[in-house]
Symmetry: C2
Subunit: 307 residues, 2 copies
């Protein structure tokens, strides 16, 4: 089983409307809703790949109920192990231009999580680690949680002997890296913010010195640079993909962890991560991947040693 | 008892955020929600004025539940007689600039109402008319309702001998006027669209010829022009009010109907409508009125014959 943690889950809403003009009134032609938060996206892809997947984190209020129901409908094999909180799960709103597809994003702050709720969560998390092959810790922290929350979860996973991947940013990433996770998956900006270097190879080595065992830097359309104890690799998609990049990084996380759980070596893990990323960009709905595109792209991903 | 009808009720959401920049991402600093739809606003003001008030219309889904709960909390004396529907009540979103207060509006289309649901509603409506002194029919029609829906409700009120006010726009207003409501309350644009004239006195007379017994044209900061069988009047606020005009027209409707129910003559009805409108513009929250401002403004509203 693979466990995903989403501490700041969301109900992702998309409005389709004519071009956005500030200070005017807009008719929304179409409303769509999906379960959101990076760890939730990772769980959906893992389930679609056939992995036994458990999703935990916090959900609360009516929007939390909406997320639960949408997750059950869209990803029926994902086990819902979310901890109920007093506060209300946040919404995110993407306003998409009907013609150009350009989106304008609004992110609510998220519910305040109490110390008692954090205690209930860590107890659930420790119970779920018993039986997990790997765990993904993904996304921002909701208000109320201490900045070292991910570091605490990394340490608990290490104590339980479960491989742990951390995908977050800013100070929670910095603290989390110091707790020695097996994998971190920053994008170029997050890696630069962590290390002070915009040169990915140098920054990857620096992030390893700070505590991460392996650093998988996602470089958008340029693929992935992996810096690991077993070597360094550069994995590249066969072509630039046009489409919606939302969730591409989460699919890469699902690719890395599923391949790890299947006992694959790094080059094959990276191949899968890049192919899933690209198949996600090509899928019409944000946060889903195009299964046919995935099968087609997978053998065409190039992986070369970057040592 | 005064009855209000809101066929396309809404959950009104306001986001406060830094200036809106299309195609960028925004952190929402504050989220507020209130029960919305013009008839709901009218009901809240009527209840605050001490009138026994019943609110009906359609509500459904989780957002419908949210509207019910918010209405019960914010206006506990308003009796909730909404008819439950299969569809989900729409949301409206106002994105307000933290500094300037400028807002950008997004309106969801609303749930499709079935013929069976419309039948259930008209049965409820006829039952509620028995015992009502007046009824306000307010706002847009949700998808699925025929364009003559308001005309049908006007005729049912007239058959029941209940004074009926219609506040809508476009074709539903045109059809509704032909069914001979006691009062219509168009703004300048709605009146011009109905009659083809932007000259309010002429347009008011034209709207009367089309079937409205009295025409109360709301002219924003310029007050009200009333064209009635008893004469014509111009009512003006003592000064231009700065603030949020959302709901000012709904407060005017509540002022007209409450004064009618109290047996007041036209000049006093208009005085109350203008004072409540202004007190609504001055209130910090959209759709509420400042009670102290209302008391202060009321004696300073000027009403003169416009015959």
């Amino acid at each position: 089983m693979i466990l995903t943690v989403t501490l700041n889950a969301a109900l992702d809403i998309t409005y389709r409307t004519a071009s956005l003009v500030p200070r005017s009134s807009h008719r929304v032609s179409e409303v769509s809703e999906r379960p959101g938060g990076k760890g939730v996206n990772v769980a959906r892809v893992l389930s679609d790949l056939g992995h036994e997947t458990v999703a935990t984190g916090f959900l609360g209020g009516r929007t939390g109920d909406d997320v639960r129901q949408l997750l059950a409908r869209l990803s029926p094999r994902t086990v819902d192990a979310f901890v109920e909180i007093e506060g209300t799960t946040r919404r995110t709103l993407a306003v998409a231009d009907e013609k150009s597809g350009d989106t304008t994003q609004f992110n609510e702050p998220g519910p305040v999580v109490s110390a008692a709720e954090w205690g209930a969560f860590t107890a659930t998390y420790e119970r779920l680690l018993d039986g997990a092959q790997a765990v993904a810790l993904c996304g921002s922290l909701p208000p109320g949680l201490h900045v070292g929350a991910y570091a605490e979860l990394v340490r608990l996973a290490r104590t339980a002997g479960v491989s742990v991947l951390l995908d977050t940013s800013g100070e929670p990433l910095r603290r989390g890296v110091a707790a020695r996770p097996d994998i971190v998956k920053p994008n170029a900006d997050e890696l630069a913010a962590l290390t002070g270097s915009r040169e990915p190879a140098r920054a990857g080595r620096d992030a390893r010195r700070r505590g991460a065992r392996s650093v998988i830097a996602s470089l958008g359309p340029d693929g992935i640079l992996a810096t690991t104890p077993d070597g360094s690799w550069r994995a590249r998609p066969p072509a630039a993909a046009r489409g919606n990049p939302t969730g591409a990084g989460d699919s890469a996380v699902a690719g890395l962890l599923s391949a790890l759980a299947e006992g694959m070596a790094w080059p094959d893990r990276l191949r899968r991560a890049v192919a899933l990323s690209m198949a996600t960009v090509l899928a019409p709905a944000a946060g889903e991947f195009d299964a046919a595109a995935y099968e087609e792209v997978l053998p065409r991903v190039t992986v070369e040693s970057a040592a």
